[in-house]
């Protein structure tokens, strides 16, 4: 008797890495003669669909699942949660609890934990997740590092978790040769091509690869960045803008932001010499598996299970210098420029050799230079810059929105105000705070870029032409030899 399996996962046609993964798994299982059907959260090529973020959808999935001998859930938080705020978290958690409890022979393959999705995991949530992960018969991850991380974060017995090969079901989508692939993509045959491929998102760190390339000499070098924005948010747009701006500064960078078919995606891998995965965080990478499928070496950052996932011929790096050196080694470029890009890379040696300089200004300059590199590495969209507080700025809202304040009094009007306040403050206050934060950000931007905000005011300096106060009514005033001179 053939076991009947229900696969619960996003499914094609969809621009989604998990859908691609599920599609390949489905193809492999079917080719092996298994009986498999798919339930996807959105309508798709799958036989069934159910919105797993809603109680009705969960009930439908349970009802359908009970017709099968085994249910395999490809888990990603976005499939089950509208958001990770307390209300939505609780709603999603209850749905998952039902699904995990009433599905027969449940196997869950975890592609990303809520820890990464939520940004933080507080104690109570960790406990609730732990309860959830104990329900399925099997919970699988793709690397040993993920297994250990889950066991630690949710207090699970490691034997509860199994490790499965991420690329086990992967198949080739292109049979092109390298020269055919390069020709079709407009790449010169004698170039050395680094490839960053995948959805364009800040955590993918493609900007890191551009910055590393800038440190390498060689007109024959190319860095192809290929992918599309999976979701539009101001942050994703800002990141794409950053990539465009960086790419415009180096003609060797080829940025292709837009739809890429599975076949074209693979053709880019075939055309490349090295696949670069400079991720800021990730659990495991389908791109790494696809690179391996075509025998391309990988340069990857040491995050999540990547180090474990990539082949022995690949490079694993932890910092900007490491990435640059790995790319230089891979293409045989000169390493001399690395230090010029990052400042002295070995401070201890530099210090002993007296190369740091002995003055305070030398050290402060070094701190600032290296901090810029560090910020680019960790969060290139971080705007926490030095602000020039004394530059006059224009206020877009003519003052911040007032937050609901004290409403004293005992009359009917005061009571009514308090009632209304109780009813709406929980929604109004966050919005007002958000708008005020936006206003602050705008004011901050003007302070950061005063030349755009008030170039005429800055031209001569706000104080440059102001008279020095020479009133006789300042007997105690002292004028130090250095430092700014006070002016009225």
């Amino acid at each position: 008797m053939v076991l009947r399996t229900l696969l619960v996962s996003p499914f094609p046609p969809a621009r989604d890495g998990l859908a691609t993964y599920a599609s390949q798994l489905y193809t492999t299982l079917v080719s092996e003669g298994r009986s498999v059907e798919v339930l996807s959260p959105d309508p798709s090529a799958a036989r069934y669909s159910a919105d797993l973020k809603t109680p009705a959808g969960v009930a439908r999935a349970i009802r359908i699942g009970r017709r099968f001998d085994r249910v395999v859930v490809q888990f990603h938080p976005e499939t089950f949660f509208y958001g990770m705020d307390p209300l939505h978290f609780l709603q999603g958690w209850v749905g998952l609890m039902f699904l995990f409890t009433f599905s027969p022979n449940l196997e869950v393959v975890v592609h990303e934990t809520p820890h990464k999705a939520a940004g933080r995991l507080d104690g109570l949530r960790a406990v609730l997740w732990g309860v959830l992960w104990r329900r399925p018969a099997t919970v699988s991850v793709h690397t040993e590092a993920e297994r250990q991380a889950m066991a630690d974060e949710y207090s699970l017995a490691p034997e509860k978790l199994t490790v499965i090969d991420h690329g086990a079901g992967f198949t080739r989508h292109s049979q092109a040769t390298r020269s055919e692939a390069r020709s079709s993509l407009g790449i010169e045959p004698d170039c050395f091509v680094f490839l960053c491929a995948g959805f364009i998102q800040p955590h993918k760190g493609f900007d890191r690869a551009i910055r590393a390339l800038r440190c390498l000499d060689g007109g024959h070098l190319r860095l192809a960045i290929v992918g599309e924005m999976r979701v539009w948010t101001p942050e994703h747009q800002a990141y794409l803008d950053l990539l465009r701006s960086l790419a415009a500064s180096d003609r060797r960078v080829m940025l292709h932001d837009g739809y890429v078919s599975d076949e074209t995606f693979d053709r880019w891998i075939i055309a490349s010499d090295v696949v670069v995965l400079p991720y800021r965080h990730i659990w495991s990478s389908g791109v790494a598996e696809r690179a391996d499928l075509y025998g391309r070496p990988v340069i990857a950052t040491n995050v999540g299970g990547l180090a474990e996932q990539v082949s022995s011929s690949s490079y694993v790096v932890s910092d900007p210098e490491g990435l640059t050196r790995a790319m230089a080694q891979a293409c045989g470029a000169n390493l001399d420029n690395v230090e010029a890009c990052f400042g002295p890379t070995d401070l201890l040696v530099a210090g002993a050799a007296g190369r740091l300089g002995s003055s305070r200004d030398d050290l402060q300059r070094l701190v600032t230079q290296r901090a810029g590199v560090l910020r680019d590495w960790y969060d290139p969209l971080d705007r926490s810059e030095r602000r020039v507080l004394d530059v006059p700025v224009s206020d877009p809202l003519e003052g911040p929105l007032a937050l609901p304040g004290g409403r004293g009094g005992i009359g009917p009007k005061a009571i009514a105000q308090r009632v209304v306040s109780r009813l709406i403050d929980w929604r109004v206050v966050p919005i007002a705070l958000y708008v005020n934060a936006m206003r602050e950000r705008m004011l901050g931007d003007e302070r950061l870029h005063p030349e755009q905000a008030s170039s005429s005011e800055r031209a001569d300096g706000a104080d440059a032409g102001a008279p020095v106060r020479t009133t006789s009514k300042q007997p105690g005033r002292r004028r130090p030899s250095s430092g700014p001179t006070p002016r009225k």
């Binding site: 305070r360 050290l363 701190v367 003052g399 009514k473 300042q474 105690g476 002292r478 250095s482």
Partner: protein
């Protein structure tokens, strides 16, 4: 004997803030130069609760006569509600601003005393600007009042009532040029002002070995002495320290003294909290540190930074404090950081080539001794008093 002069301070306890300590030092310095000086203050010694601890009344303490009045505590819910609106950038009406000021610690007995006796003093010196008595003096005896604003950039400094207060009094005494520049930007400067500066005293008994032994401190360490609270930049320091650990793997451990909790993040980071200690122990801790950390963005003078300079300890300080940045840049004895990345790089420098950072400290003592000594400050105070009164 010259004077008499009244120095009005919120507290004269042993564990006070920088402004109150400075006022007491000025009062003492004048008294030692044959001025008749009275300190008018409260019986409170805790700036959080303002509970009256000392004996109310008048008594001689060294060269000073100290009159203590009862502090009336905070009207907390109102104070908090209005403070939150100010911090959120809301514009309060003048009536609301006075309501906020009167919901803080106030001293009705001092008001009565000043109504009756303000004219008995040649001059009345008060500070810092947020102390309730400043508003009283601007009403009761503006022509005799000199204010040490001890100003730093914060939303409260932008309240209109302080603009009126500082415009009403006889004059303002500033401790540093960045403080003056801030006052100027905020439109707080009246007809008269003077730079009288401020100073730190030579530390007492320094015994680093005894400090290490007493508090079980081994190896290199960073030191922070002060209130562990938001206003002093403590939570941000913990975040920055955590980030530095993430980047560097480890970094120089932090030892801290003072009031306030170090928080759960501080505990996870292994911060050593030695609590409230004597001045000698604090100075010994500063002297033995690889670097002194000043995370506060809201400083008007920063005595601890100058004490560290004097003790030959380099400083790693928050760039957003204009006055601390000014000290570090002018002295060459400290580095500044404006974000977590620069903080991490400062920590990297301290870990990997500490000798380059500690060599900066050689610039510190001469900087302090050339500009920030009490004799020089009292000279300038006397000059200002002589010219203004």
């Amino acid at each position: 004997m010259k004077g008499p002069i009244a120095v009005v301070s919120a507290t004269a306890g042993s564990n006070v803030g920088g402004a109150e300590a400075m006022l007491r030092d000025v009062a003492t310095g004048l008294a030692e130069r044959d001025w008749k000086v009275e300190m008018l203050t409260t019986a409170a010694e805790d700036i959080y609760t303002w509970s009256n601890v000392a004996e109310i009344g008048s008594r001689d303490e060294g060269p000073l006569k100290v009159r203590r009045f009862e502090a009336v505590g905070l009207t907390q819910p109102l104070r908090d509600r209005l403070s939150n609106r100010i911090l959120a950038g809301d514009k309060l009406t003048m009536a609301e601003q006075y309501r906020w000021a009167n919901a803080g610690m106030r001293v009705p007995g001092l008001y009565d005393f000043l109504v009756e006796h303000a004219q008995d003093y040649q001059a009345i010196v008060c500070g810092p600007y947020m102390f309730w008595a400043g508003l009283v003096l601007a009403d009761v005896a503006p022509e005799r009042t000199v204010l040490f604003p001890c100003l730093h950039d914060e939303p409260f400094a932008r309240l209109d009532l302080y603009k009126f207060m500082m415009g009403a009094v006889r004059g303002l005494w500033f401790q540093t040029e960045p403080e003056f520049e801030l006052a100027s930007r905020l439109g707080l400067i009246g007809d008269r002002y003077a730079f009288v500066g401020s100073a730190v005293t030579n530390p007492g008994n320094i015994d680093v070995d005894a400090f290490r032994s007493r508090y079980h401190v081994d190896g290199d360490y960073l030191f922070f002495a002060g209130r562990r609270e938001w206003g002093k930049g403590w939570p941000q320091l913990m975040e920055d320290l955590a980030f530095a650990r993430q980047v560097l793997g480890d970094c120089v451990p932090l030892v801290t003294c003072g009031v306030g909790e170090i928080g759960s993040l501080g505990e996870r980071l292994g911060v050593t909290d030695i609590g409230v200690v004597s001045d000698d122990d604090r100075a010994s801790g500063q002297a033995g540190a690889l670097a002194y950390v000043q995370p506060s963005a809201m400083e008007s003078f920063s005595r601890t930074v100058l004490e560290s300079f004097l003790l030959g300890t380099p400083v790693v300080a928050n760039w957003h404090s204009a006055v601390v940045r000014w000290h570090c840049e002018r002295s060459g004895a400290g580095l500044t950081y404006s974000n977590r990345y620069e903080f991490a790089e400062c920590m990297r420098l301290l870990r990997e080539c500490p000798q380059d950072v500690t060599s900066l400290a050689a610039n510190g003592p001469s900087y302090v001794r050339s500009d920030f000594t009490w004799p020089a400050v009292i000279d300038r105070v006397e000059n200002a008093l002589g010219e203004w009164f």
